[in-house]
Structures are given as C-alpha cells and as structure tokens.
C-alpha cells in the first residue's frame, strides 16, 4: 500500500495531465452532442415524418464499434490518425445517437393542454420551445446525458490503443510494464471521473427544474 502511495506521489504530475485530457475528451462530445441533438429533436417533434428515419440512423450509428470508427474517421476526414479530433467526432456521433431518442421522447411528453395554454398566452413556436417544451423535457433529456457521459468516460480509454492521450495511457503502459499500480489508478480515476461528472449533471438538473423540488416538498 505504501508502495502505491509513493507511486501516486511520484507521478502526480503525469497522472493529473492525463486526467485533465481525459475529462476534456469526455465532456466536449457531450456538449457538442447536446447542441446537435436538441435542434434535431425539436425539428423531429414538429415534422413527425422525420422521426423514423432519424431514429433509425441514430440506431445504426450507435452500433458502429468505437475502435472501428476511430480508425475509419481519419480515412474519411483526411485527419491524422493521432488527432484527438477523431475521438471527439466519434464520441459526438455516439452522444447524438443516444440523446436523440431522449430529446424526442422528452418533447413528446409535454402534455397537449400545456402546449395549447402557451399558444393561448401568445407564445411564438420558438419561445414556446425554449420557455415551455424544453424545460419540461429536461428530466428525460438529462437521463440520456447521464448515460452518454458515463459511456464517454469509458470509451475515451479505448483511444489509448491507437496512442491517444487520456487515462487509457495508464492501461496501455501498465499492460506493457506489468504495473498493477498504474492500471488500478487508471480504473479508479475513470470511475471517480464518471461519478463526479454524473453528480454535476444531477445538480444541474435540480437547478434547471426547481418546480420538481417544490412538488416533492409539497407532497411530503
């Protein structure tokens, strides 16, 4: 155990750098994915015929294996194979595929009388979307964001097979040098990162839906 702590102490700088890179590579795709999935879902909510093809495409994209996508993207995009852009694009694709159903279900869960009330109050379609539909959809969308974030944290490690930065480097180097300390540190830090990001998302959801807390309080 002492061994382990001296390992952590000696390598704190390197490990910190890998953790930062890992966080960046897991979070950016979630933000990009949300920015793409929200408008797509909103369009599908109004143009119903788009829903089936969009969801079918999302399903097909989600079944693309990550390692395969990581190797194919540079060929399609003409980027360098070690460019972290490939990983960000690959994870963004998964995030969009995962979030789209949540956004569509979430917007679909807004009761008709609520929509009509907003229209009756003179809300334009766009204002209704931002002020009424999206806030009501927050819990369903957040559920998708949580799954996507945790999945991304795990998937970033796969990038280390082709030499990308991140906590996965502790796995590849630990494997090559038979170093338990490195591998265990990598696993513990990725799980902690996933939990931390999850806690942040849950907190954000609480802040975004104050009425849910008010209702729970009234129920008690």
């Amino acid at each position: 155990m002492n061994d382990y702590f001296s390992y952590l102490h000696d390598n704190a700088g390197t490990i910190g750098g890998l953790l930062r890179a890992h966080t960046y590579l897991s979070v950016v795709p979630v933000v990009l994915g949300l920015l793409i999935a929200l408008p797509l879902g909103a369009i599908a909510d109004t143009k119903r015929w788009l829903m089936t093809p969009l969801l079918a495409t999302a399903g097909a994209l989600y079944s693309l294996p990550s390692l395969a996508l990581l190797l194919l993207l540079p060929i399609i995009l003409g980027t360098q194979i070690l460019d972290s852009v490939n990983l960000i694009i690959a994870l963004t694709i998964y995030t969009v595929a995962l979030l789209l159903r949540g956004v569509i279900d979430g917007l679909g869960s807004v009761p008709d009388h609520v929509k009509l009330a907003a229209v009756g109050l003179g809300y334009s379609p766009l204002r209704r979307l931002f002020a009424v539909d999206l806030p009501i959809a927050v819990p369903v969308v957040t559920a998708g964001v949580r799954v996507a974030t945790v999945a991304n944290v795990s998937l970033v490690s796969v990038g280390s097979i082709i030499g990308l930065n991140g906590l996965g480097e502790l796995f590849t180097r630990g494997f090559q040098t038979n170093d338990y300390n490195m591998i265990v540190t990598g696993i513990v830090l990725s799980v902690l990162l996933a939990f931390t990001l999850d806690a942040i998302i849950v907190t954000a959801q609480r802040l975004l839906t104050p009425w849910a807390r008010a209702a729970a309080g009234a129920g008690r």
């Binding site: 294996p65 190797l71 003409g78 502790l170 796995f171 494997f175 038979n178 990598g186 999850d198």
Partner: protein, 257 residues
C-alpha cells in the same frame, strides 16, 4: 493537384490509395484461408460474443427476475449495475490479463462485466413494469409465485428483457475488438495488425466487418423480439388463438364468411 490550388486539404490521393489497398486486401485469396483468414476471425469474434453474453445472461437474468419479482434489494442492485457501467472495459481487460495471464478468461471477464448491467437493468425494469393489477389477478386465479413469474411476468417483460440482451450484445460485438490488443483473435486483429503496419486496406476492411457484425446482431435481435413477443401484448393474430366471435352475428354466419 486541384486540391492544393483551391486550398482544400489534399486527401483525394490518399483516399484513392486506401480504396486500392482495400481492394488488394479483399481480393487476395491468402486473406480468406487458414487461422489468420477472415472467416476464422469472424468466427472467433462471434465465439467471444456468444460466450460473454451467455455468461452475463446466466448471471443477470435470474438476479433481475428475483429483484423485479420481490422488489427487494432493488436500490442496491441498480446502483451497483450503474456503477459497473463506469468501469472502463479497457482497464478491466488489462487488469485481468496482468492478474490471470494472456488467454480467453481475462477477455471474457471484461466482456461479461460490460454485458451484465444492461441485461440486469432491463430485466428488473421489465418485471417491475408489469401492472400490479395483472399480477394480483394471476394470484387471484390461484397461480403460485413461480407460475406468476413464469406465465405472467416473464412473457409481459420479455420484449424489454430481450432489448437489454440486444444492447448488451451490440456493445460486446463492438468491444470484443480489444481482445486483439491482448494477443487474442477476433476481428480486432485486422484493426490492430493493420494499424501496426499502416495497412489501411486491412484496417478499413476490419472496421467495416465489425460494423456489419454489430448491425447484423442488432437486426437478429429485432427479429427475435418481434417473433417472441406474446400475441397478447401486440394483438398479432396467431393460429392458436381463434378469432373472437362477433356476438351480433349468428355462429353459422361467421363461419360461412
């Protein structure tokens, strides 16, 4: 180059190269035979997938049924299931290899750990979602707990349970590629070996095959779900079920039509 003249990144020539290399790889008969051949790799990949999903189902299905039926320990089990999703498969794989040495066991440990959470969560959620009124009606008709589970809860939950196994399988197909990283076979070999010698034709073909196997598994389960869903849930007519006679029609008229 036209690309240079208009300031586009010059990728056209390399893409052309890759198309050539892809064709070279696919048309070379040597790549289709023997222990390194493509058919062997596909078979190995399916072998890892089927083994991992079968072991994961053997663990997660009974557990999910038990938790869903009794409602006990649900909170603990679901949280452990979700926490397990956060464990990076890659890390678990190299840890298992460092612990057990190279071979099939560490790969299966990593893949089984990946497949358990979706199956467990879906099974639990499927059983949990069965209407309490339906379960009570079954009990009222004199079914014992085992029969309630077998004849009522499982058939109703089946589509959701199967969709859990479906997403577990697709994930395992995608992730089984990392078996090649620890010197095992499977389609990951084409990716990893291709990468190490920069054979983009081999890599592309490998990536394409994994994607096809994943989509194939997805479609396979979509069909299973369609045909295994109880007709009572979908309203799909079957031979076993005679059409409900219309009370307004005399019996003779209905059979004549």
């Amino acid at each position: 180059m036209i690309g240079e003249a208009v300031g586009w990144p010059v990728v056209a020539s390399s893409n052309y190269d890759i198309a050539n290399k892809f064709r070279d790889y696919v048309t070379d008969p040597a790549n289709w035979h023997g222990p390194d051949g493509v058919p062997t790799r596909i078979f190995e990949h399916l072998e890892y997938t089927v083994l991992a999903v079968a072991i994961a189902s053997a663990i997660a299905l009974p557990l999910g049924l038990l938790i869903g039926h009794t409602g006990r320990a649900a909170f603990v089990a679901i949280n452990i299931g979700n926490a397990a999703r956060a464990i990076p498969t890659m890390g678990l794989l190299v840890l298992a290899v460092t612990w057990r040495g190279l071979g099939l066991t560490p790969v299966l440990i990593a893949l089984v750990a990946l497949a358990i959470p979706p199956i467990l969560t879906a099974t639990y959620a499927g059983i949990q979602a069965v209407e309490p009124a339906t379960v009570n009606a079954a009990r009222g008709m004199g079914l014992n707990e085992r029969q309630v589970l077998q004849l009522v809860e499982i058939p109703i939950a089946l589509p959701l349970v199967l969709s859990g196994i479906r997403s577990a399988t697709v994930q395992v197909v995608a992730t089984a590629t990392i078996a090649a990283y620890v010197a095992l076979g499977g389609l990951g070999r084409l990716l990893i070996d291709g990468l190490s010698v920069r054979d983009y034709g081999k890599m592309t073909f490998g990536a394409l095959l994994v994607a096809l196997v994943a989509i194939g598994a997805d479609v396979f389960f979509a069909l299973i779900i369609r045909y295994c869903t109880s007709p009572g849930l979908t309203g799909r007519p079957t031979n076993r079920m005679s059409p409900i006679p219309d009370p307004a029609q005399p019996v003779g008229a209905a059979s004549a039509a």
